[in-house]
Subunit: 241 residues, 2 copies
């Protein structure tokens, strides 16, 4: 199949694992044995083992050997972005307000801010078929001298721009719950009292310092959100070796 040596080795070992010839926590043959078995050099063999390791098939213990990994199949992946996550065609996103104010103590704490520092609050309403379906609140520390409140529209893209510049040093967390809509959300989304909505809390966190940079809260009408998730794919396009 594969004309490349290290890939034929990978495929053969994968097959042996999938056929149950070697089971989780079994030790593979030693690298020197495998070199002979496949007639490849050490580096080539180790490239194969590296691939298998990256794909979760094996792990290695220095001084001992390489072992078959217990597979992990309960992890799922999905995509969530601020704009295209609704189960409908968004025909308008209305900017409700952008303002700078004093944070309440809880927010100040989550954002790791000092007393006296202010926050920017952005509120946005998304429409499908000319009806409101999602309300979004974005909270970030206010850093003076940025084109924020002065130009509302700029700010709408500001956080995206900022984010893409920081992209490699941030991590995001999501919390999806179903809650009874608070009064103001009921009004914004024009739903009946007591009705439930999806609440999605998003945090953008700086990897190194674990500092929270931005907090977002989405409230989505229950009919307009669902999740499709799947086992992570091995993205071979990303690999060099």
């Amino acid at each position: 199949m594969a004309k490349v040596l290290y890939l034929t080795v990978v495929e053969d070992i994968k097959k042996k694992i999938m056929d149950g010839l070697i089971k989780p926590d079994d030790m593979l043959k030693s690298e020197s044995e495998l070199m002979k078995e496949y007639s490849v050099s050490r580096m080539t063999l180790r490239k194969s083992l590296s691939l298998l390791s990256n794909e979760g098939y094996i792990y290695s213990v220095p001084g001992k050997g390489n072992f078959v990994r217990k597979p992990e199949t309960d992890i799922f992946q999905f995509r969530f972005s601020d704009y295209d996550s609704l189960d409908c065609e968004t025909d308008e996103i209305k900017l409700i307000s952008v303002r700078v104010e004093e944070p309440d103590p809880e927010t100040r704490f989550s954002l790791g801010m000092k007393y006296g520092e202010q926050i920017v609050i952005l509120e946005r309403l998304s429409f499908c078929g000319h009806k409101p379906v999602a309300f979004e609140i974005v909270i970030s520390p206010y850093i003076p001298n940025r084109p924020v409140v002065e130009d509302k529209l700029n700010f709408a893209n500001y956080s995206k721009a900022l984010e893409s510049r920081l992209a490699f040093s941030i991590r995001k967390e999501l919390e999806i719950t179903l809650i009874k809509a608070p009064g103001n959300i009921e009004k914004r989304l024009e739903i009946s009292p007591g009705e439930v909505v999806f609440q999605i809390n998003k945090k953008i966190i700086k990897k190194e310092s674990n500092q929270t940079l931005t907090i977002s809260k989405f409230y989505i009408k229950k009919e307009f959100y669902s999740i499709k998730a799947g086992t992570p794919e091995e993205d071979d396009s990303k690999k060099i070796f």
Copy 2:
């Protein structure tokens, strides 16, 4: 910091990317230039590039060069397993029924089965605080001569065992929606008419053939499910190089 050559290279290039010295789709210096810059051999440098590639920082185009990748930060991961995904302590899982029957046409189609072949249906109810919170239906093709209907409890673990044997050759898909509970679910979960529940459809699919092996449907009381998800972590423990 790192005493290993290839890691110091990785860290330095990461830093340059995060500091914005090289931006998405910019080309890195050629490998021979980088070899000189860091005074390392070709293979060592390429190990570094491989790592950067695996972690999503760069990609490479043969004959041209290595480029900085546009970062992806809208992908989230979470865990879902049949047993520990409820927002409460499960104190009982009651096996409601296990039976073999003729599939309806839709199910037969999804499972890629021939006319005349039968399916096994398992139904299970989970309790928290002695109240029903989740109802689960698992549907698989019936393969005669397996300890299935003959021993209900065995079957409960059967699918897990089967799955772990196949683990490396399967993939799973999840679909999470909020629906009005069907009549039988209302009864099972003891909820009021018209109330919404989470519906989670799970498919287990064979990677090679794309054949669906098992379909599961979970119905969970809306108060007892939520999702915590986050940006995938680079799992260095899995790496050999």
